[in-house]
Protein backbone atom coordinates (compact mmCIF):
# COMPACT_ATOMS: atom_id res chain seq x y z
CA UNK A 1 0.00 0.00 0.00
CA UNK A 2 2.12 2.84 -1.24
CA UNK A 3 -0.52 5.38 -2.02
CA UNK A 4 -0.67 8.24 0.45
CA UNK A 5 -3.56 10.17 -1.05
CA UNK A 6 -6.12 9.29 -3.62
CA UNK A 7 -8.82 11.61 -4.95
CA UNK A 8 -11.34 10.82 -7.62
CA UNK A 9 -13.74 13.47 -8.83
CA UNK A 10 -13.53 15.11 -5.43
CA UNK A 11 -15.80 18.11 -4.96
CA UNK A 12 -17.15 20.37 -2.23
CA UNK A 13 -20.11 22.69 -2.55
CA UNK A 14 -21.02 25.02 0.30
CA UNK A 15 -24.53 26.16 1.00
CA UNK A 16 -24.78 29.61 2.50
CA UNK A 17 -27.60 31.71 3.78
CA UNK A 18 -28.06 34.77 1.63
CA UNK A 19 -27.02 37.94 3.35
CA UNK A 20 -28.29 41.34 2.41
CA UNK A 21 -26.82 44.77 2.72
CA UNK A 22 -28.46 47.55 4.69
CA UNK A 23 -30.55 47.61 7.83
CA UNK A 24 -33.98 47.16 6.28
CA UNK A 25 -32.82 44.58 3.77
CA UNK A 26 -31.13 42.85 6.67
CA UNK A 27 -34.37 42.90 8.59
CA UNK A 28 -36.17 41.38 5.61
CA UNK A 29 -33.46 38.75 5.13
CA UNK A 30 -34.04 37.95 8.78
CA UNK A 31 -37.32 36.34 7.87
CA UNK A 32 -36.09 34.56 4.77
CA UNK A 33 -34.45 31.18 4.39
CA UNK A 34 -32.91 31.72 0.96
CA UNK A 35 -29.60 30.00 0.42
CA UNK A 36 -27.05 29.97 -2.34
CA UNK A 37 -24.56 27.34 -3.44
CA UNK A 38 -20.86 27.89 -3.83
CA UNK A 39 -18.61 25.33 -5.46
CA UNK A 40 -15.28 25.56 -3.65
CA UNK A 41 -13.65 22.55 -5.26
CA UNK A 42 -14.78 20.38 -8.15
CA UNK A 43 -13.69 17.27 -9.99
CA UNK A 44 -10.35 16.93 -8.33
CA UNK A 45 -8.55 13.75 -9.37
CA UNK A 46 -5.00 12.98 -8.36
CA UNK A 47 -2.87 10.47 -6.50
CA UNK A 48 0.09 11.06 -4.24
CA UNK A 49 2.51 8.24 -3.45
CA UNK A 50 4.12 7.83 -0.07
CA UNK A 51 7.26 9.88 0.34
CA UNK A 52 6.33 12.42 -2.32
CA UNK A 53 6.36 16.08 -1.55
CA UNK A 54 3.65 18.02 -3.25
CA UNK A 55 3.14 21.73 -3.48
CA UNK A 56 -0.46 22.84 -3.71
CA UNK A 57 -0.73 26.33 -5.10
CA UNK A 58 -3.46 28.61 -6.32
CA UNK A 59 -4.82 32.07 -5.76
CA UNK A 60 -6.84 33.02 -2.70
CA UNK A 61 -10.13 31.17 -2.87
CA UNK A 62 -8.82 28.61 -5.35
CA UNK A 63 -9.83 25.83 -2.96
CA UNK A 64 -6.50 24.90 -1.40
CA UNK A 65 -7.66 24.93 2.20
CA UNK A 66 -10.91 23.20 1.38
CA UNK A 67 -8.92 20.46 -0.33
CA UNK A 68 -6.58 20.04 2.63
CA UNK A 69 -9.57 19.91 4.97
CA UNK A 70 -11.16 17.15 2.94
CA UNK A 71 -7.91 15.19 2.84
CA UNK A 72 -7.56 15.43 6.61
CA UNK A 73 -11.18 14.60 7.45
CA UNK A 74 -12.19 18.02 8.74
CA UNK A 75 -14.69 18.41 5.90
CA UNK A 76 -16.93 15.86 4.25
CA UNK A 77 -16.84 16.10 0.43
CA UNK A 78 -20.07 16.61 -1.48
CA UNK A 79 -18.85 14.67 -4.50
CA UNK A 80 -16.31 12.06 -5.44
CA UNK A 81 -14.05 9.83 -3.42
CA UNK A 82 -11.08 10.51 -1.19
CA UNK A 83 -8.68 8.20 0.61
CA UNK A 84 -5.78 9.19 2.81
CA UNK A 85 -3.42 6.42 3.87
CA UNK A 86 -6.08 3.99 2.71
CA UNK A 87 -8.72 5.46 5.06
CA UNK A 88 -11.75 7.56 4.25
CA UNK A 89 -10.69 10.69 6.18
CA UNK A 90 -14.08 11.91 7.43
CA UNK A 91 -15.20 8.38 8.28
CA UNK A 92 -12.07 7.20 10.04
CA UNK A 93 -10.98 10.57 11.27
CA UNK A 94 -9.62 9.58 14.65
CA UNK A 95 -7.60 6.65 13.32
CA UNK A 96 -6.22 8.76 10.52
CA UNK A 97 -5.31 11.61 12.83
CA UNK A 98 -2.76 9.37 14.54
CA UNK A 99 -0.72 9.26 11.33
CA UNK A 100 -0.99 12.80 10.01
CA UNK A 101 0.28 16.14 11.15
CA UNK A 102 -1.37 19.40 10.20
CA UNK A 103 -0.20 23.00 10.38
CA UNK A 104 -2.68 25.74 9.78
CA UNK A 105 -0.48 28.77 9.41
CA UNK A 106 -3.36 31.04 10.32
CA UNK A 107 -4.53 29.11 13.37
CA UNK A 108 -1.85 28.20 15.85
CA UNK A 109 -2.54 25.05 17.81
CA UNK A 110 -0.46 25.60 20.90
CA UNK A 111 -2.20 26.46 24.13
CA UNK A 112 -2.00 30.19 24.48
CA UNK A 113 -1.31 30.43 28.18
CA UNK A 114 1.34 27.79 28.69
CA UNK A 115 4.91 27.44 27.41
CA UNK A 116 5.53 25.44 24.25
CA UNK A 117 7.44 22.82 26.22
CA UNK A 118 4.25 21.87 28.10
CA UNK A 119 2.30 21.71 24.86
CA UNK A 120 4.91 19.40 23.37
CA UNK A 121 4.67 17.04 26.33
CA UNK A 122 0.91 17.07 26.03
CA UNK A 123 1.12 16.18 22.35
CA UNK A 124 3.59 13.41 23.11
CA UNK A 125 1.04 11.87 25.46
CA UNK A 126 -1.81 12.53 23.05
CA UNK A 127 -0.17 10.76 20.12
CA UNK A 128 1.59 8.23 22.37
CA UNK A 129 4.86 9.03 20.62
CA UNK A 130 7.55 6.40 21.35
CA UNK A 131 10.49 7.79 23.30
CA UNK A 132 13.08 7.22 20.59
CA UNK A 133 11.00 8.95 17.94
CA UNK A 134 10.27 11.81 20.28
CA UNK A 135 13.91 12.18 21.19
CA UNK A 136 14.75 12.68 17.53
CA UNK A 137 11.84 14.89 16.50
CA UNK A 138 12.07 17.03 19.59
CA UNK A 139 15.84 17.53 19.40
CA UNK A 140 15.77 18.12 15.67
CA UNK A 141 13.02 20.72 16.03
CA UNK A 142 14.63 22.50 18.95
CA UNK A 143 17.99 22.68 17.21
CA UNK A 144 16.94 23.30 13.63
CA UNK A 145 14.23 25.78 14.46
CA UNK A 146 16.19 27.29 17.34
CA UNK A 147 13.39 26.97 19.87
CA UNK A 148 15.66 26.66 22.89
CA UNK A 149 15.49 30.26 24.03
CA UNK A 150 11.74 30.51 24.31
CA UNK A 151 10.55 26.99 25.08
CA UNK A 152 9.55 28.04 28.59
CA UNK A 153 7.81 31.28 27.69
CA UNK A 154 4.00 31.24 27.58
CA UNK A 155 3.01 31.09 23.93
CA UNK A 156 1.01 34.32 24.06
CA UNK A 157 4.23 36.22 24.71
CA UNK A 158 6.03 34.84 21.66
CA UNK A 159 6.46 36.69 18.39
CA UNK A 160 4.65 35.43 15.32
CA UNK A 161 7.78 33.81 13.96
CA UNK A 162 8.55 32.04 17.23
CA UNK A 163 4.99 30.83 17.56
CA UNK A 164 4.96 29.55 14.01
CA UNK A 165 8.17 27.62 14.52
CA UNK A 166 6.80 26.01 17.68
CA UNK A 167 3.63 25.17 15.84
CA UNK A 168 5.49 23.44 13.04
CA UNK A 169 7.58 21.49 15.54
CA UNK A 170 4.39 20.50 17.39
CA UNK A 171 2.75 19.14 14.25
CA UNK A 172 5.68 16.92 13.42
CA UNK A 173 6.55 15.58 16.89
CA UNK A 174 4.83 12.27 16.26
CA UNK A 175 6.65 11.80 12.93
CA UNK A 176 3.44 11.62 10.93
CA UNK A 177 3.30 9.66 7.69
CA UNK A 178 1.84 12.71 5.98
CA UNK A 179 2.36 16.33 6.94
CA UNK A 180 -0.24 18.79 5.69
CA UNK A 181 1.14 22.28 5.86
CA UNK A 182 -1.27 25.07 5.11
CA UNK A 183 0.83 28.20 4.70
CA UNK A 184 3.47 27.30 7.27
CA UNK A 185 5.63 30.29 6.44
CA UNK A 186 2.99 32.99 6.39
CA UNK A 187 4.27 36.21 7.84
CA UNK A 188 7.77 34.93 8.58
CA UNK A 189 11.03 36.65 7.73
CA UNK A 190 13.42 35.19 5.18
CA UNK A 191 15.78 33.57 7.68
CA UNK A 192 13.02 31.86 9.60
CA UNK A 193 11.43 30.65 6.38
CA UNK A 194 14.74 29.06 5.50
CA UNK A 195 14.81 27.24 8.84
CA UNK A 196 11.29 25.96 8.36
CA UNK A 197 12.15 24.58 4.92
CA UNK A 198 15.27 22.89 6.26
CA UNK A 199 13.27 21.26 9.01
CA UNK A 200 10.80 19.87 6.50
CA UNK A 201 13.57 18.50 4.32
CA UNK A 202 15.23 16.87 7.33
CA UNK A 203 12.00 15.27 8.57
CA UNK A 204 11.45 13.90 5.10
CA UNK A 205 14.93 12.51 4.88
CA UNK A 206 14.64 10.79 8.27
CA UNK A 207 11.06 9.48 8.18
CA UNK A 208 10.11 9.50 4.52
CA UNK A 209 7.32 11.89 5.43
CA UNK A 210 4.90 12.67 2.64
CA UNK A 211 4.46 16.42 2.43
CA UNK A 212 1.50 18.39 1.14
CA UNK A 213 2.30 22.05 1.25
CA UNK A 214 0.06 24.95 0.36
CA UNK A 215 1.67 28.31 0.24
CA UNK A 216 1.75 31.67 -1.43
CA UNK A 217 5.52 31.75 -1.21
CA UNK A 218 6.78 29.75 -4.17
CA UNK A 219 10.25 29.61 -2.71
CA UNK A 220 8.82 27.19 -0.15
CA UNK A 221 7.85 24.98 -3.06
CA UNK A 222 11.15 25.29 -4.87
CA UNK A 223 12.98 24.31 -1.69
CA UNK A 224 10.86 21.36 -0.63
CA UNK A 225 8.62 20.02 -3.39
CA UNK A 226 9.23 18.02 -6.53
CA UNK A 227 5.65 17.92 -7.60
CA UNK A 228 3.15 20.65 -8.13
CA UNK A 229 -0.63 20.76 -8.09
CA UNK A 230 -2.04 24.03 -9.33
CA UNK A 231 -5.63 24.88 -8.47
CA UNK A 232 -7.64 27.53 -10.18
CA UNK A 233 -11.17 28.35 -9.03
CA UNK A 234 -11.54 24.91 -7.51
CA UNK A 235 -10.25 22.98 -10.51
CA UNK A 236 -6.96 21.27 -11.13
CA UNK A 237 -5.02 23.31 -13.66
CA UNK A 238 -1.75 21.41 -13.57
CA UNK A 239 -0.48 18.20 -12.02
CA UNK A 240 3.11 17.15 -12.62
CA UNK A 241 6.71 17.75 -11.74
CA UNK A 242 7.82 21.20 -10.74
CA UNK A 243 10.45 21.30 -13.47
CA UNK A 244 7.92 20.08 -16.02
CA UNK A 245 5.69 22.92 -14.96
CA UNK A 246 8.47 25.40 -15.42
CA UNK A 247 9.24 24.00 -18.89
CA UNK A 248 5.66 23.88 -19.97
CA UNK A 249 4.57 27.27 -18.79
CA UNK A 250 7.84 29.14 -19.01
CA UNK A 251 7.47 31.05 -22.23
CA UNK A 252 11.08 31.74 -22.83
CA UNK A 253 14.61 31.91 -21.58
CA UNK A 254 16.99 34.70 -20.99
CA UNK A 255 20.64 34.72 -22.08
CA UNK A 256 22.87 36.91 -19.98
CA UNK A 257 26.18 37.76 -21.56
CA UNK A 258 29.08 39.56 -19.91
CA UNK A 259 31.62 41.06 -22.34
CA UNK A 260 35.38 41.21 -21.91
CA UNK A 261 35.63 44.83 -22.89
CA UNK A 262 33.68 47.65 -24.53
CA UNK A 263 31.85 46.79 -27.75
CA UNK A 264 33.94 46.90 -30.91
CA UNK A 265 32.59 49.10 -33.65
CA UNK A 266 30.18 47.26 -35.95
CA UNK A 267 30.04 44.11 -33.79
CA UNK A 268 26.55 44.96 -32.58
CA UNK A 269 25.23 45.56 -36.11
CA UNK A 270 26.77 42.29 -37.43
CA UNK A 271 25.14 40.32 -34.60
CA UNK A 272 21.78 41.95 -35.13
CA UNK A 273 21.97 41.17 -38.82
CA UNK A 274 22.81 37.52 -38.28
CA UNK A 275 19.98 37.03 -35.74
CA UNK A 276 17.40 38.92 -37.78
CA UNK A 277 15.37 35.78 -38.47
CA UNK A 278 15.05 34.71 -34.81
CA UNK A 279 12.28 35.70 -32.37
CA UNK A 280 14.20 37.59 -29.73
CA UNK A 281 15.02 40.95 -28.24
CA UNK A 282 18.54 42.26 -27.71
CA UNK A 283 19.19 44.62 -24.84
CA UNK A 284 22.50 46.53 -24.80
CA UNK A 285 21.40 49.19 -22.31
CA UNK A 286 23.92 48.17 -19.63
CA UNK A 287 27.56 48.73 -20.63
CA UNK A 288 29.55 45.49 -21.15
CA UNK A 289 26.38 43.49 -20.73
CA UNK A 290 24.01 41.92 -23.21
CA UNK A 291 20.61 40.56 -22.29
CA UNK A 292 18.78 38.43 -24.84
CA UNK A 293 15.13 37.55 -24.26
CA UNK A 294 14.23 34.44 -26.20
CA UNK A 295 10.80 32.95 -26.82
CA UNK A 296 9.80 29.29 -27.04
CA UNK A 297 10.62 29.19 -30.75
CA UNK A 298 14.11 30.61 -30.48
CA UNK A 299 17.01 28.22 -31.10
CA UNK A 300 19.29 28.79 -28.15
CA UNK A 301 22.31 26.97 -29.64
CA UNK A 302 22.22 29.11 -32.78
CA UNK A 303 21.92 32.31 -30.79
CA UNK A 304 24.77 31.26 -28.50
CA UNK A 305 26.99 30.39 -31.44
CA UNK A 306 26.37 33.77 -33.06
CA UNK A 307 27.10 35.62 -29.86
CA UNK A 308 30.40 33.79 -29.39
CA UNK A 309 31.36 34.43 -33.02
CA UNK A 310 30.85 38.19 -32.97
CA UNK A 311 31.62 39.28 -29.41
CA UNK A 312 34.44 38.80 -26.91
CA UNK A 313 32.54 36.95 -24.19
CA UNK A 314 33.69 36.72 -20.55
CA UNK A 315 30.64 34.84 -19.29
CA UNK A 316 27.36 33.50 -20.65
CA UNK A 317 24.45 32.06 -18.71
CA UNK A 318 20.99 30.80 -19.69
CA UNK A 319 18.05 31.35 -17.32
CA UNK A 320 14.64 29.76 -17.36
CA UNK A 321 11.82 31.90 -16.02
CA UNK A 322 11.45 31.89 -12.23
CA UNK A 323 8.56 29.86 -10.79
CA UNK A 324 7.21 33.07 -9.35
CA UNK A 325 7.02 34.77 -12.71
CA UNK A 326 5.41 31.79 -14.38
CA UNK A 327 2.72 31.45 -11.76
CA UNK A 328 1.95 35.14 -11.83
CA UNK A 329 1.46 34.99 -15.56
CA UNK A 330 -0.62 31.85 -15.25
CA UNK A 331 -3.01 33.43 -12.74
CA UNK A 332 -3.32 36.51 -14.88
CA UNK A 333 -4.13 34.54 -18.01
CA UNK A 334 -6.37 31.87 -16.52
CA UNK A 335 -9.88 32.41 -17.75
CA UNK A 336 -12.92 31.62 -15.66
CA UNK A 337 -14.58 28.41 -16.85
CA UNK A 338 -17.41 29.18 -19.26
Amino acid sequence: MNTAILCEGLGKTYRRRKRKEGFWAGLRAYFSFETEELAAVSELTFRVERGESVGLIGENGAGKSTTVKMLTGILVPTAGRVETLGLVPHGDRRRLSQSIGVVFGQKPQLLWDIPARDSFELLKAMYRVPDDVYRFTYTEAVERLELGEFLDTPVRLLSLGQRMRCDLAASLLHAPAIAFLDEPTIGLDVLVKERVREHLVEMRRRFGTTIVLTTHDLKDISATCERLLVLDRGRLLYDGSRTGFEERYAEGRTLLVTLEGPLEGGARERLEQELAGEELALDFSVPRRLRIECTHATSAPRVTASVLRHLAVADLTVHGAELDAIVTRLYRNAKPPA
Binding site: T72, G73, I74, L75, V76, R95, K107, I114, M126
Partner: protein, 257 residues
Amino acid sequence: MRFYFLFYRTAVKAIAEYRVDFAVGVVTAVAMQLAALGFYWVVFSRAPGLGGWKASEVLLLFGLTALVLGLSELLSNGIWWLPYYVQDGQLDRLLIYPVDSLTFVLMSRPELHALGNLATGAVTLGIAWSTLGVPTWMLLLVPLWVLCGSVVYTGALVVTGSLMLRVVGPWASHLFTMHQLLNTSRYPLSMYPGWLRALVMYVVPFGAAIFVPADFLRGHGSLLGAVLWPIAGALASGVVAKLTWNAALRGYQSTGS
Protein backbone atom coordinates in the same frame (compact mmCIF):
# COMPACT_ATOMS: atom_id res chain seq x y z
CA MET B 1 -6.37 8.19 30.20
CA ARG B 2 -2.94 9.51 31.05
CA PHE B 3 -3.37 12.06 28.32
CA TYR B 4 -6.65 13.39 29.73
CA PHE B 5 -5.13 13.70 33.17
CA LEU B 6 -2.14 15.55 31.79
CA PHE B 7 -4.36 17.70 29.62
CA TYR B 8 -6.57 18.73 32.51
CA ARG B 9 -3.56 19.53 34.64
CA THR B 10 -2.11 21.68 31.88
CA ALA B 11 -5.42 23.46 31.37
CA VAL B 12 -5.62 24.29 35.07
CA LYS B 13 -2.05 25.51 34.96
CA ALA B 14 -2.93 27.76 32.04
CA ILE B 15 -5.84 29.32 33.90
CA ALA B 16 -3.86 29.67 37.09
CA GLU B 17 -1.43 31.92 35.18
CA TYR B 18 -3.86 34.73 35.80
CA ARG B 19 -3.96 35.11 39.54
CA VAL B 20 -5.97 38.30 39.62
CA ASP B 21 -8.61 36.82 37.34
CA PHE B 22 -8.76 33.77 39.55
CA ALA B 23 -9.32 35.85 42.67
CA VAL B 24 -11.91 38.05 40.97
CA GLY B 25 -13.62 34.91 39.66
CA VAL B 26 -13.95 33.31 43.09
CA VAL B 27 -15.21 36.52 44.65
CA THR B 28 -17.69 36.88 41.80
CA ALA B 29 -18.97 33.34 42.16
CA VAL B 30 -19.58 33.87 45.86
CA ALA B 31 -21.21 37.23 45.16
CA MET B 32 -23.53 35.65 42.62
CA GLN B 33 -24.59 33.01 45.09
CA LEU B 34 -25.08 35.67 47.77
CA ALA B 35 -27.16 37.65 45.31
CA ALA B 36 -29.40 34.63 44.84
CA LEU B 37 -29.59 34.23 48.62
CA GLY B 38 -30.56 37.91 48.74
CA PHE B 39 -33.69 37.03 46.79
CA TYR B 40 -34.34 34.18 49.26
CA TRP B 41 -34.21 36.84 51.95
CA VAL B 42 -36.84 38.87 50.12
CA VAL B 43 -38.98 35.78 49.57
CA PHE B 44 -38.92 34.45 53.11
CA SER B 45 -39.49 37.86 54.59
CA ARG B 46 -42.85 37.79 52.76
CA ALA B 47 -43.91 34.15 53.10
CA PRO B 48 -43.23 31.39 55.64
CA GLY B 49 -42.51 28.76 52.99
CA LEU B 50 -42.81 27.84 49.32
CA GLY B 51 -44.87 25.02 47.83
CA GLY B 52 -45.00 23.22 51.17
CA TRP B 53 -41.27 23.56 51.87
CA LYS B 54 -39.84 25.46 54.85
CA ALA B 55 -37.05 27.99 54.28
CA SER B 56 -34.33 25.66 55.57
CA GLU B 57 -35.61 22.89 53.33
CA VAL B 58 -35.44 25.17 50.30
CA LEU B 59 -31.87 25.89 51.35
CA LEU B 60 -31.07 22.20 50.76
CA LEU B 61 -32.06 22.69 47.14
CA PHE B 62 -29.97 25.81 46.92
CA GLY B 63 -26.87 24.11 48.33
CA LEU B 64 -27.12 21.08 46.08
CA THR B 65 -27.68 23.26 43.01
CA ALA B 66 -24.60 25.35 43.80
CA LEU B 67 -22.48 22.22 44.24
CA VAL B 68 -23.73 20.79 40.94
CA LEU B 69 -22.93 24.04 39.17
CA GLY B 70 -19.51 24.20 40.79
CA LEU B 71 -18.48 20.67 39.88
CA SER B 72 -19.59 21.12 36.29
CA GLU B 73 -17.62 24.36 36.02
CA LEU B 74 -14.58 22.73 37.53
CA LEU B 75 -14.47 19.64 35.33
CA SER B 76 -16.42 20.28 32.16
CA ASN B 77 -16.64 24.01 31.67
CA GLY B 78 -15.12 23.91 28.18
CA ILE B 79 -18.55 23.65 26.60
CA TRP B 80 -19.00 27.38 27.26
CA TRP B 81 -16.09 28.04 24.90
CA LEU B 82 -17.55 26.03 22.07
CA PRO B 83 -19.00 29.05 20.24
CA TYR B 84 -15.54 30.64 20.22
CA TYR B 85 -13.92 27.43 19.08
CA VAL B 86 -16.33 27.32 16.16
CA GLN B 87 -15.93 31.00 15.40
CA ASP B 88 -12.15 31.12 15.20
CA GLY B 89 -11.71 27.70 13.65
CA GLN B 90 -10.26 25.92 16.69
CA LEU B 91 -12.81 23.18 16.21
CA ASP B 92 -11.04 22.22 12.96
CA ARG B 93 -7.93 21.68 14.98
CA LEU B 94 -9.80 19.34 17.32
CA LEU B 95 -10.83 17.13 14.48
CA ILE B 96 -7.25 16.28 13.64
CA TYR B 97 -6.36 15.08 17.13
CA PRO B 98 -6.51 11.38 17.96
CA VAL B 99 -8.56 11.92 21.12
CA ASP B 100 -12.21 11.96 22.10
CA SER B 101 -13.37 15.35 20.91
CA LEU B 102 -16.14 15.85 23.47
CA THR B 103 -13.93 15.06 26.45
CA PHE B 104 -11.27 17.30 24.98
CA VAL B 105 -13.62 20.26 24.59
CA LEU B 106 -15.14 19.81 28.04
CA MET B 107 -11.79 19.65 29.79
CA SER B 108 -10.19 22.42 27.77
CA ARG B 109 -11.27 25.31 29.98
CA PRO B 110 -11.70 24.61 33.67
CA GLU B 111 -13.30 27.52 35.47
CA LEU B 112 -11.58 28.00 38.78
CA HIS B 113 -14.26 30.31 40.14
CA ALA B 114 -16.09 27.01 40.54
CA LEU B 115 -14.33 26.87 43.90
CA GLY B 116 -16.49 29.80 44.99
CA ASN B 117 -19.64 28.00 43.98
CA LEU B 118 -18.54 24.77 45.63
CA ALA B 119 -17.70 26.60 48.86
CA THR B 120 -21.01 28.48 48.99
CA GLY B 121 -22.89 25.32 48.15
CA ALA B 122 -21.13 23.35 50.87
CA VAL B 123 -21.75 26.04 53.49
CA THR B 124 -25.46 26.48 52.70
CA LEU B 125 -25.99 22.74 52.52
CA GLY B 126 -24.22 22.39 55.87
CA ILE B 127 -26.41 25.07 57.47
CA ALA B 128 -29.59 23.52 56.12
CA TRP B 129 -28.37 20.06 57.16
CA SER B 130 -27.79 20.99 60.78
CA THR B 131 -30.94 23.13 61.04
CA LEU B 132 -33.04 20.22 59.84
CA GLY B 133 -31.07 17.62 61.80
CA VAL B 134 -30.55 15.31 58.83
CA PRO B 135 -28.67 12.09 59.81
CA THR B 136 -24.94 12.48 59.24
CA TRP B 137 -24.44 9.21 57.32
CA MET B 138 -26.52 10.59 54.46
CA LEU B 139 -23.61 12.92 53.71
CA LEU B 140 -22.08 9.88 52.00
CA LEU B 141 -24.67 10.23 49.26
CA VAL B 142 -23.91 13.89 48.53
CA PRO B 143 -20.95 13.18 46.20
CA LEU B 144 -23.12 10.81 44.16
CA TRP B 145 -25.89 13.38 43.85
CA VAL B 146 -23.54 16.20 42.96
CA LEU B 147 -21.78 14.06 40.38
CA CYS B 148 -25.06 12.93 38.79
CA GLY B 149 -26.39 16.48 38.85
CA SER B 150 -23.25 17.74 37.10
CA VAL B 151 -23.57 15.10 34.42
CA VAL B 152 -27.19 16.11 33.86
CA TYR B 153 -26.29 19.80 33.72
CA THR B 154 -23.23 19.34 31.50
CA GLY B 155 -25.23 16.98 29.29
CA ALA B 156 -27.93 19.61 28.87
CA LEU B 157 -25.31 22.20 27.93
CA VAL B 158 -23.68 19.83 25.45
CA VAL B 159 -27.00 19.06 23.78
CA THR B 160 -27.84 22.76 23.51
CA GLY B 161 -24.37 23.64 22.28
CA SER B 162 -24.40 20.82 19.72
CA LEU B 163 -27.83 21.63 18.34
CA MET B 164 -26.76 25.20 17.73
CA LEU B 165 -23.18 24.55 16.76
CA ARG B 166 -23.19 26.76 13.73
CA VAL B 167 -26.12 29.05 14.06
CA VAL B 168 -25.55 31.05 17.18
CA GLY B 169 -22.61 33.24 16.40
CA PRO B 170 -19.91 34.05 18.87
CA TRP B 171 -22.09 34.32 21.99
CA ALA B 172 -22.89 31.54 24.39
CA SER B 173 -26.34 32.96 25.06
CA HIS B 174 -28.05 29.69 24.20
CA LEU B 175 -26.18 28.00 27.02
CA PHE B 176 -27.50 30.59 29.42
CA THR B 177 -30.99 29.28 28.77
CA MET B 178 -29.89 25.96 30.23
CA HIS B 179 -28.13 27.75 33.05
CA GLN B 180 -31.34 29.57 33.88
CA LEU B 181 -33.26 26.33 33.70
CA LEU B 182 -30.87 24.87 36.25
CA ASN B 183 -31.95 27.69 38.55
CA THR B 184 -35.43 26.20 38.65
CA SER B 185 -33.96 23.53 40.92
CA ARG B 186 -33.28 26.16 43.56
CA TYR B 187 -36.99 26.03 44.39
CA PRO B 188 -39.30 23.13 45.17
CA LEU B 189 -40.80 21.51 42.09
CA SER B 190 -44.15 21.45 43.84
CA MET B 191 -44.65 25.20 43.28
CA TYR B 192 -44.33 24.87 39.50
CA PRO B 193 -47.07 24.21 36.96
CA GLY B 194 -47.34 20.62 35.72
CA TRP B 195 -45.61 21.11 32.37
CA LEU B 196 -42.55 22.67 33.97
CA ARG B 197 -42.40 19.92 36.59
CA ALA B 198 -42.49 17.33 33.80
CA LEU B 199 -39.83 19.24 31.86
CA VAL B 200 -37.26 19.32 34.66
CA MET B 201 -38.06 15.80 35.83
CA TYR B 202 -38.07 13.89 32.55
CA VAL B 203 -36.74 16.04 29.71
CA VAL B 204 -33.89 17.97 31.30
CA PRO B 205 -33.76 15.91 34.50
CA PHE B 206 -32.37 18.47 36.96
CA GLY B 207 -35.21 17.50 39.26
CA ALA B 208 -34.22 13.84 39.23
CA ALA B 209 -30.73 14.70 40.46
CA ILE B 210 -31.46 17.58 42.84
CA PHE B 211 -35.11 17.75 43.85
CA VAL B 212 -35.56 14.03 44.53
CA PRO B 213 -32.51 13.80 46.83
CA ALA B 214 -33.45 17.00 48.69
CA ASP B 215 -36.98 15.69 49.14
CA PHE B 216 -35.48 12.52 50.58
CA LEU B 217 -33.30 14.53 52.99
CA ARG B 218 -36.37 16.26 54.43
CA GLY B 219 -37.94 12.88 55.08
CA HIS B 220 -40.01 12.22 51.95
CA GLY B 221 -39.60 9.40 49.42
CA SER B 222 -37.40 6.33 49.66
CA LEU B 223 -33.64 5.86 49.80
CA LEU B 224 -33.84 3.68 46.70
CA GLY B 225 -35.54 6.47 44.77
CA ALA B 226 -32.99 9.01 45.98
CA VAL B 227 -30.22 6.80 44.60
CA LEU B 228 -31.78 5.51 41.40
CA TRP B 229 -33.41 8.70 40.09
CA PRO B 230 -30.16 10.67 39.95
CA ILE B 231 -28.26 7.79 38.36
CA ALA B 232 -30.95 7.25 35.73
CA GLY B 233 -31.04 10.97 34.97
CA ALA B 234 -27.27 11.16 34.61
CA LEU B 235 -27.06 8.09 32.39
CA ALA B 236 -29.81 9.31 30.10
CA SER B 237 -28.31 12.82 29.81
CA GLY B 238 -24.82 11.49 29.20
CA VAL B 239 -25.89 9.18 26.40
CA VAL B 240 -28.10 11.76 24.70
CA ALA B 241 -25.35 14.35 24.96
CA LYS B 242 -22.76 12.09 23.36
CA LEU B 243 -25.09 11.13 20.51
CA THR B 244 -26.06 14.74 19.81
CA TRP B 245 -22.43 15.80 19.87
CA ASN B 246 -21.44 13.16 17.35
CA ALA B 247 -24.30 14.14 15.06
CA ALA B 248 -23.34 17.80 15.37
CA LEU B 249 -19.73 17.10 14.40
CA ARG B 250 -20.88 15.20 11.33
CA GLY B 251 -23.04 18.17 10.42
CA TYR B 252 -20.18 20.56 11.07
CA GLN B 253 -17.89 18.59 8.79
CA SER B 254 -20.31 18.77 5.93
CA THR B 255 -21.18 22.45 6.18
CA GLY B 256 -17.66 23.72 5.83
CA SER B 257 -15.61 26.44 7.36
